[in-house]
């Protein structure tokens, strides 16, 4: 919004003040979920499935019930309401009728201490009739495959599109792909595979559920949305949402893994049954076994170009392994399809895909949301195409890159696009850097990848109120997972009031008190909730100006905001303070001053004249963001081990509210993407047991595994739909890492690795098959 009244001095936006909560975190005072202890609190333990697929025949609870100190037990036999879940309601807090993966909660116990609860859970007898399990996409799709969800047709769904073991099937098409390939003298084709990655937030999932004398439940919970937890727990317990309240603790990372609630209802159920508070915090092993992973995917892709490098056609098939429950599989698949064109102007594209059920842990939302899989294939293939054309891969990208005014895949107009600038920035920075000395036995390679992503989705709101001394109270439903949204929201509010940040309080998220927010997900907080904060603050400011005009006896048009909480008459020193304004409103006239704003993402949707879009689970997505990565790797000729030496990452953030936090998101996202590229993989054995269940078996990058230099470039091209121009940066930084590293490996050793993670054996195999 054009706003001449705030065009002056040192501003909160664009500064990088210390995070509001950083001192609490650094001193150990910050309270995470496992730090919550309530009087009379019980401890919960889970009994989980030893079978990948089995029918539950019966429960034997007598022994467990007889253990002294046991206060409540829940099994699937206690659940009588409908199933819960997201787009397809196929889940329940503990298994009902069947178990569908090893580790699935089957029963839970609340007892006076953790040891008693675990002993009692182990004493529960469950009779199973084992069934044949399907552990891969191919097994799930085979004729006569055992069906995981026989009742699938009867489940409540917000979107149709599956049958048998297919959770969801979808496609997006633009142009005439088959005709276009006939015009392409240069065609490349390949199949890529990606693995299950675990989020590995440092704080495992959990909650403490409390209950009052009337039975109202309050959850203290680590989560990505208090409103989602409230809704899910109410749904599973058959309570109205007015009887379930969720309050966020500090959250020790989320990355999408705490996007959907699954275990919180168990603690709530036990608390309601025992009429005492219940703590359920997962061990690291349980967190691996019962939460969710990134979708393993198999991607076939074919891309064709003219001899001058103009890309005319792309054909894509994506199959993702959704595990035992649908969770976010439909939107993840849909988003992977939409991102599979890459940030290129390709007129003829066909992307088809399906998500399938298998007898493994559910796959769901994870930073990038299908884009990392699609971009690993797509950006690897761009390098393959460049090689076939005999062209520099950066040149090929520049030639085909989206530009301002391009449309996204699906037909949405894209107003702002700094993709070429991002790519030029990382290319020039890498070229300009002093070369690292070569090392014996290692081959050096340089690789690039570009990406687009979105920032938006769903609804959010903010509320801002003026307090009697001129301080301001800001409230949103946006839970800070560690990325810094608390600070960013206060910066946006402070900037619109020219008020020091310490004069603004920011409320913790509480489903009973905070304005609605869908989730901290989809790179949407700064864009969506930030928009709500900006508009709500301006609304409050207008009301403050009405009071100031009455106090000064002038027109509101003659007023200006002055730093430090003052409103003055333009051109003269006369001014009134926020405090005077507040006191007038509270005790003389007008009533308390506040501003609120709520909205649902309101940007353009798909264009049916341009694209045939079959069942995508969203009508519109968000504003588009762009980025480019460049990496240098050393590949050990003897062992195949890959080391990322330096990385340059340029990202379009619209406008950086907090540049240091943007850099932190970029550097952290890159390293999480590097883990995905090189070391991280969840493995299941032939019986469907997850074998990577500790941090000793599942390798995330440590400081010595990570590059010494990760140069984060924050590019600003203000987005016109946001009052201060900002867009999100949460996810894109992960997306480019794997393909850039794959391309650097190919540059180093001439071999293409098409399967993640690119562990030494696969690198050596690729070298062998290339020679």
């Amino acid at each position: 919004m054009p706003d001449p009244t705030t065009a002056a001095p040192a501003r909160a936006i664009g500064a990088s003040p210390p995070r509001l909560e950083a001192a609490d975190k650094a001193s150990g005072r910050a309270r995470y979920v496992d730090d919550v202890r309530l009087p009379g609190m019980l401890h919960a333990a889970l009994l989980t499935s030893p079978h990948a697929h089995a029918r539950i025949v019966g429960y034997r609870l007598d022994v467990a019930r007889a253990i002294s100190g046991v206060k409540a037990i829940v099994t699937g036999a206690d659940l009588t309401g409908p199933r819960a879940g997201g787009i397809i309601k196929d889940e329940s807090m503990v298994a009902r009728g069947k178990v569908r993966y090893v580790g699935e909660p089957v029963a839970a116990v609340a007892a006076i201490d953790a040891e008693t609860a675990e002993r009692a859970a182990a004493a529960i007898g469950v009779d199973y009739e084992p069934l044949e399990a399907v552990l891969t996409i191919d097994e799930a799709l085979a004729d006569a495959a055992p069906i995981l969800h026989e009742e699938f047709a009867g489940y409540v769904k917000t979107i149709d599109g599956g049958a048998g073991n297919v959770v969801f099937e979808s496609s997006v098409t633009e142009g005439d792909v088959d005709a276009a390939f006939a015009q392409c003298p240069f065609v490349v084709e390949g199949t890529w595979e990606t693995q299950a990655q675990h989020h590995l937030y440092m704080e495992t999932n959990g909650c403490v559920a409390d209950v009052d004398a009337t039975g109202k439940i309050t959850l203290h919970v680590t989560c990505q949305s208090v409103h989602h937890v409230q809704q899910r727990v109410a749904e599973e317990l058959g309570e109205p949402m007015a009887r379930v309240r969720a309050i966020a603790t500090r959250v020790g990372g989320g990355f999408g893994g705490k996007h959907a609630s699954n275990i919180h209802s168990i603690a709530a159920w036990l608390a309601r049954a025992a009429r005492r508070p219940v703590k359920l915090v997962l061990s690291r092993t349980q967190d691996f076994e019962v939460q969710r992973s990134r979708h393993p995917a198999r991607i076939w892709m074919r891309t064709g170009a003219r001899a001058d490098g103009t890309i005319l056609a792309r054909d894509v098939r994506i199959e993702i392994d959704g595990g035992a429950y649908a969770d976010e599989s439909p939107p993840v698949l849909a988003f992977a399809l939409l991102m599979s064109r890459g940030p290129y102007r390709i007129p003829n594209v066909r992307a088809r895909g399906r998500a399938v059920y298998t007898n493994k842990l559910r796959a769901g939302s994870f930073r990038g949301f299908g884009n990392p899989q699609a971009s690993f294939a797509g950006e690897s293939q761009i390098d393959d195409l460049a090689q076939r054309l005999g062209m520099d891969s950066v040149e090929l990208r520049m030639l085909n890159a989206m530009q301002p005014g391009s449309t996204a895949f699906g037909g949405q107009p894209v107003a702002s696009c700094v993709l070429r600038e991002c790519l030029a920035r990382v290319r020039d920075a890498q070229r300009g850097a002093s070369p690292l000395p070569p090392r014996a036995g290692r081959r050096r390679g340089v690789g690039f990848a570009v990406m687009s992503h979105v920032s938006g989705l769903m609804g959010t709101a903010a509320s801002v109120q003026l307090r009697s001394d001129g301080s301001v109270s800001l409230s949103t439903g946006c839970v800070d997972l560690g990325q810094g949204s608390d600070t960013v929201m206060v910066q946006i509010c402070a900037d619109a009031l020219l008020l020091p940040m310490e004069r603004i309080s920011y409320s913790p998220q509480d489903s009973d008190a905070s304005p609605y927010n869908w989730k901290t997900a989809g790179s949407r907080s700064t864009y969506m909730t930030g928009r709500a904060v900006a508009v709500a603050t301006v609304e409050m400011r207008k009301r403050m100006f009405d009071h100031a005009a009455e106090l000064i006896e002038c027109s509101t048009e003659d007023l200006e905001l002055r730093p430090g909480g003052m409103v003055g008459l333009k051109g003269v020193p006369l001014e009134v303070s926020f405090k005077q304004i507040a006191l007038r409103s509270l005790f003389q006239a007008g009533g308390p001053i506040s501003g609120t704003h709520g909205f649902v993402f309101d940007g353009p949707g798909f264009d049916p004249k341009r694209a045939a879009v079959d069942r995508l689970a969203f009508a519109n997505l968000g504003v588009y963001t762009f980025g480019a990565h460049c990496v240098e790797v050393d590949v050990d000729e003897g062992t195949g081990a890959v080391e990322v030496r330096r990385a340059w990452c340029a990202h379009d953030v619209g406008r950086a509210i907090n540049p240091a936090s943007c850099e932190g998101q970029i550097q952290g996202g890159f390293v999480q993407g590097m883990g995905y590229a090189l070391t991280e993989a969840m493995h299941w054995n032939d019986e469907g047991w997850l074998t990577t269940v500790t941090l000793a078996d599942y390798k995330i990058p440590g400081v010595l595994d990570s590059p010494v230099e990760i140069h984060a470039f924050v590019l600003e091209d203000p987005d016109p739909s946001h009052p201060v121009g900002a867009k999100g940066i949460g996810e894109p930084s992960l997306v480019g890492a794997a393909p850039a590293i794959a391309n650097a490996i190919r540059d180093a050793v001439g071999a293409r690795v098409r399967k993640l993670p690119m562990i030494p054996e696969r690198v050596l195999d690729a070298i062998d098959s290339a020679t």
Partner: protein, 159 residues
Amino acid sequence: MSTAPHHSSLVVNGERRDVLAPASTTLLEVLRGPLELTGTKRGCNHGVCGACTVLIDGKLARACLTLAADVGEHPVVTIEGIADERGLSRVQRALVEAGAVQCGFCTPGFVMALTSLLDSRPQPSADDIREALSGNLCRCSGYIKIVEAAIRLAEGEGA
């Protein structure tokens, strides 16, 4: 594993604390439970992530791998014992100011590791710093800003 209560008398952050707990109880469980010192975090309980790092006798230790009964008279310092009379210690301030604190769950462990390094070697090299932090996992930051904060400390800032 014995579940019979065992009496331990610990010296934690300069105070004597008496605890009655089964002999199999870890120092981490005692700190977070009866002693209510919840700044020390349980990240993996397998000695890998470093979120439970404390000082025992001035040396870094994993509280999750240490039995409380084995600590004896050796003084224990936790994150709650790190802040000085001015509030945050210089290590804590440096991490806060560098933007190195994101979700913060790993931060107490990094504070302990860096404090120990700078106590033993006030001017470590960048390689020394990376080596000293190699037992602590962070999932948010990519480590860049943590190492930058440590380098500033090694250069004498915030003293």
